[in-house]
Amino acid sequence: MKISTNEAHETQYITEFHKFPKTEPSWLEEIRTQAMERFQLLGFPRNRRGNEFWKYTDVSALLTKNFEHEPANSAAVGSIPNGLSVINLNGAKGHLKDIAKLYLAKFAPFQKDPFISLNTALFQDAVLIHAAEGIKIKNPVKIHLHSNDGKVTHPRVLVIAEDGSKIDISLSHYGHSSGDYFANVVSEVIVGKNASVSLFRAQREKPDSFHIANTFVSVSENGRFDYFSLDNGGGVARHNVNISLSGQNASCNLSGVYVTRNTQHVDNHTLIHHLDSNTTSDQLFKGILLDSSRAVFVGQVEVSPGCKKVETHQTNKTLLLSPSAEINTQPVLDIATDDIQASHGNAVGQVDRDSIFYLMTRGLDFASAQKILMEGFLLEILKSVQNESLLLESTESINRTIDEL
């Protein structure tokens, strides 16, 4: 393949790919080869003009970096209950091996996205989480994914909740050093019939890092997917959440918080496909922006023709605490049915002065009053968290974020 100078940067990733030991099963090798070919064709997004998907987020700084590859540093924390498997994909044996083959790379489309194709071609040490049919797990599965200075990692997570199962997962992304690095994450979540998955994602990468994450979720009939995210890190952070509500009565609830400082840039793109009738989706994203930081929220909803009794709601609210902070927020509704209840709204403002005065008449100084109000503003997103342990963890996470401001 001929590579132009413009694309020369991508060659380091291609070289890395060719260093891979040929010890993997042939089906995986085949996928990786296809993915690498796609990455070579697609390349990293260079221009924002004319590129709607990357209109608000500039990743061109990635092209100036030469990161060294390393396998994902993932660790499952705590005990794993019966009926649940949390393993490294390489170690998958027996039926888990078949399951991996059945689902891996089937939902995250490496054909379309350079970051997904890159991850698919190069991921090492993927995490496979499997809940057997009907198994209801009480304690959340906690996965830590960390990065090191000067490195690029491609963490990969595959979650399969078989029919009737229930599982809560917490994913923490963070950095160990203060330098720059690149975490390119892809997660695929398969929610079976009558199954329920909650995913709490905390992104606390270092301020000079690149964090690009893609989460693809498929929800079957009567299945439910709940998602809570906290973005409090990253120099440039982008997260795409793509949900397919593919069976009757499938539902999802996406909530996110972003708190940014200095020159941080955090971009959340959601895309929800309503592919069947009686499907519902709710989205609530809230953020606080300081200094010259920027945030993006694009909430896209597609409803297929013929779907009946579909419900979709989305809200985005942002507090701008500095005149040079900026939010771009955009709902995109593509609805091919009349039988729908849909709403969307966004609001951008400052902390309410009357509320601050109210708290100050109770003895709180301005800064403390503002912090309490910011906490309250953000904690609203957790109102539908049911798992107590997850609620505690996410509440603490948000409180810590505000305390650090």
Binding site: M360, T361, R362, G363, L364, D365, S368, I372, G376
Partner: protein, 254 residues
Amino acid sequence: MLEIKNLHVSINGIEILKGINLKVDSGETHAIMGPNGSGKSTLAYILAGKPGYEITKGSVLFEGSDLSTMPVEERSRAGIFLSFQNPIAIPGVRMDHFIRAGYNQLQKAAGKQELDVLKFDKLIKEKAASLEIEYSMTKRFVNDGFSGGERKKNEILQMAVLEPKLALLDEIDSGLDVDALREVSTAVNNMRSQSRSLILVTHYQRLLDHIAPDYVHVLSEGVFIAQGDSHLAKEVELHGYDWLINRDIGFSLK
């Protein structure tokens, strides 16, 4: 305790209070009555320190300290409490959470011990029980989805926790039905003591049937036009504010 002399207050350059004199001693309950727009709430706000209210003339002393230069939170720490006419709803913030933060600030300022979550919870539980206010209210988001009566009870419970020396109750009776008015009034009466002064701001006399004031002041267009004891409130009830406004000379007691 509180001494207001020839107080003039403007908002956005418009004079609202035009020469108020008021002296409140420890343990006294004063009622400020008046028609809408007379400046009643402005008086409560200027004492609590609401931004945007400017003293153009006169003085306000609280226990000898000049209030005009004192930040809002320091007034609270000094013992002034404002019960809001329209208590603000703050979704996401639990009442017990923020009022503990306020309580501890007051304790700290007074050189007293701050309370951890458990000890504070015990305190607020006792206060709620003594005022016959539902303790569960403290676990809810501040005034979020509260009825008018619940909001006012919530204010009184906060007052009971903070134990102010001077409580400004701005239209504590507005939006209350008969039962809620009785409950709120009982709670306020339970808080009366020799060391605590109350200023009740109200449009209607009916509140004063429940909370008997020592003194009544009628405010109209930024000045007191009548001052007296609880009988004055009865007269207002009988004849209306116009009757007083059209008279040449007001009552005088002090």
